[in-house]
Symmetry: C2
Subunit: 143 residues, 2 copies
DNA sequence: CTATGTGCAAAATTTTTGCATAAAA
DNA sequence: TTTTATGCAAAAATTTTGCACATAG
């Protein structure tokens, strides 16, 4: 868990950026909060304890997280950018219920293997990927 | 090719919606244009020949296309919603070059099979899916 | 006729930016 | 002390909406 914080510190110092109170607060809140938070949701949570942190700082800081590889941006199609923390966990993909908006995570190494194969066929070097299956979750299929 | 137009007509009449000049124009332009057009790009093209068609109509019509299943919405992470025509073709996925922004299409039925299996395991009913591999295309790996 | 669609401009959303001030190195 | 970060508010950018008028059925 300290790994994420270390990676962030390291990234900041490599780039000559500064470690600030706000960045620490936002990182802690980001890690404490569950996955798939929208920027607004995160901002509101932070706001509760730290009413003086601005929206722009949250935007800028999340972008930093994403650049340094500790968070991933997602667009699940509701017009809100969501971020998910990414280090330490295995990469996972998503089942997204179009009715109740529930997000279920899964992973399947066999799919990853096939992706690598596709990439190789196109001389493509994968940095990242996104697999999302949209549909109805078990509950929402019941009438 | 007439299939798409037919499906659209059928959808309109099923829903009691009307077939209008604008909808026809937008559909033709959408089909004529390559894949992955952003709403703005499409609007500008339409604008050239039909300067009186409004932005809102293009938005509303593309949403219709997507509802009736002849187009698919994509967000490739540049803040622009893109649409792609979908009928008649096999479903395909995307390799997206993060440097030159090129989009390469591919399909792999074996991946689809595994997706179905994952869905079954979660009692999930897939309506749609999206697989995007981000990274560097062959050209952009050369220094 | 009647219901739906259109165009426009205004509003709502989401994200980015400029700039004076504050804080880190 | 010099550079980078922050907060605010303003600006951009994207998408949606309200409404009077137009058009399809």
């Amino acid at each position: 868990m300290g790994k994420i914080r270390d990676k962030f510190r390291r990234y900041l110092s490599e780039k000559g950026l500064k470690s600030t109170q706000q960045r620490d607060i936002i990182l802690e809140e980001f890690l404490a909060a569950g996955s798939h938070l929208s920027i607004e949701e995160l901002y509101l949570r932070i706001r509760e304890k730290h009413p003086n942190i601005g929206y722009a700082t949250v935007y800028r800081t999340l972008k930093l997280f994403s650049e340094c590889g500790i968070a991933e941006e997602h667009q699940f199609g509701d017009g809100q950018t969501r971020y998910e923390s990414v280090i330490g966990e295995e990469h996972h993909d998503h089942l997204i219920c179009t009715r109740c908006k529930r997000i279920i995570e899964f992973e399947d190494p066999r799919i990853e293997t096939l992706q690598d194969e596709v990439a190789r066929r196109h001389n493509f070097k994968i940095e990242n990927h996104r697999l999302e299956l949209y549909g109805l979750c078990a509950d929402c299929q019941k009438p």
